[in-house]
Symmetry: C2
Subunit: 374 residues, 2 copies
Amino acid sequence: MHPKKEGDDFMERRKFVKAAGVAGVAAAATAASSFPSPAIAQGKKKWIGVNTFGKTGALGKAMDAFADFVGKASDGKLTIKVYHGGELVKPFESFDAVQSGTAQIGWGAPYYWTGKSHAIQFVATMPFGLNAQEQNGWFYNAGGIEASNKIYNELGLQFLPCGNTGNQMGGWYNKEINSTDDLNGLKFRMPGLGGEILKSFGVNVVLLPGTEVLAALTSGQIDGTEWIGPASDLGKGLYKVAKYYYHPGWHEPATVLDCFISKKEFDALDDGLRAIVESAAAMTNIKLLSFFQAVNNAAMDKLINEHNVQMREYNEDLLKAIGNRASTLLPEIAGKDPMSKELYENIIAYRKTSVNWARLSEGAFIKARDYADL
Amino acid sequence: MHPKKEGDDFMERRKFVKAAGVAGVAAAATAASSFPSPAIAQGKKKWIGVNTFGKTGALGKAMDAFADFVGKASDGKLTIKVYHGGELVKPFESFDAVQSGTAQIGWGAPYYWTGKSHAIQFVATMPFGLNAQEQNGWFYNAGGIEASNKIYNELGLQFLPCGNTGNQMGGWYNKEINSTDDLNGLKFRMPGLGGEILKSFGVNVVLLPGTEVLAALTSGQIDGTEWIGPASDLGKGLYKVAKYYYHPGWHEPATVLDCFISKKEFDALDDGLRAIVESAAAMTNIKLLSFFQAVNNAAMDKLINEHNVQMREYNEDLLKAIGNRASTLLPEIAGKDPMSKELYENIIAYRKTSVNWARLSEGAFIKARDYADL
């Protein structure tokens, strides 16, 4: 699939929400009668699904495939009619739509719902936190799904991990960033927990909808922006107006996509249908991570070799300063309420056992691989 | 699950086969009448499944869960009776059993079947090749499943990726290895493509069944051995008889586990059952990789902090020498037959676009993460 199109879809929606802050998403004005209704006829369940993402991108296709699989695997006993972002409700009303019963299942990304729960953003990703493989280790083998569901269940929903963007990039600048002094006074676009950390260094953190980022960077309204990764950033054309492309993406090591299901409907499924829905989510999870892996490879190649992008790595001193600051700020932010604190500590406990193994295995291997000319 | 038990199962079987060489696995002596038979009654299919791995370990439980899911999701339209290693046929006769029609589905690891096809080992893993995330990117988004099926289809089988060990460790030694001179004359256990590379440096590559490795290391019959990763190596007790534990595992960056199905039976499935079987494999794939991730974390922690294992990283000059040698030898080995060559070149094309992105994303992130004290 073409990186531009695929990337655009995810980034437009994600960054808009990050910029606008989801806290203010209004409860879906759902006059139930004006919407299609779920139905059970002859033992067949028909669900309405609401996607936060658009129809044409990778995340639209993935959720169509999710529904297609469920219908086929269940031999029609459970079918899902998917409405993509804006088709039935506004994109960011998908969560509300499932909570209110307008839909039975939805897809998005956990940090979109920070207005519903401060804790939920920690399900998505955390600066200096888990990479994608570790996220899945935590979800499937260390109680991460159950820990996340403490939050979702309170909101009347069942959570299943349903995709991952993998590691993101550090951002675009028009000057080199060599020290925290270079950050001071910079107008930079980075929402979320990463933005909180940058603020503490005197960065003027600007929140902008995705559609305005390129223009804002061109006009000098902002000095730089983080975005997602090579495929999305290539599609956005950021290389045309920013000179330096920094890595690593310390602020979003691996962003989780979520499937949220009405808990009442989920609990009412028989064993077979529940197995099918869980399997659909796990399959979508591995296939979307694989998709981002594959398109980022090709896009990075293009950015460097066709568009002569200037690649830069944040230097050690700078990363140490940011890392130190994160070590103080993250527990403070997580400490604001008991649910955030509990989830944060659960993730941190897993992280503590992960860092050594990741450094000695993937970290050392990726470095060693450069020595082979294959 | 306890690392020892879980790890042991995989390593015993894998290493035995690596040591013994699977080339000589005899065709299963299958007097069909003495085996349970598949059955189709009232539109219900009953398959026989043969696992290469034992019942009690992670890979036994994973394949039981595979069968359980298929039965539940299909509402009994397709059920799989799983026979674990040695229960119906000998562990390494599982591939033969499916080829001959004694069973309809089986599980193992592609390099076990090198005696059937020289090319098939390249599906499993390759020195300095793809990591687990890239393997899945290649499988699901770059035609890797189709490319692998060119080999399996010729053998009458359908291949689905069904698990991954993740990155392995470099091995155990009783002296430090600082240069290729230190390799010369060493008696070391490393089967497969990695072993071929070591041989070229004067290593006396020893092949030993898994059960004999600890004794051989104790008696001095071998000077060192590679094994799998922290969880498996901890279980094996290698830290008791070897002093230095090296990384990275350049020889096996991510070892794929395979599900192989009678092509005739697979093609005869209706859309729904095919979707269920494909989904079972994808779900097992992500869950097993997650399992290895989680148990390796904890085991590495234990090896270092409880057993005071001396960790060593192969130095840059040594890795360069091994990498250079691999760059010559791997295309030579792959060039021995057209199928190997085609598959090798397919993987290498994907690898070429992967290395930059991996270095700038996961590689740089894993390094940066050490700067946060979380």
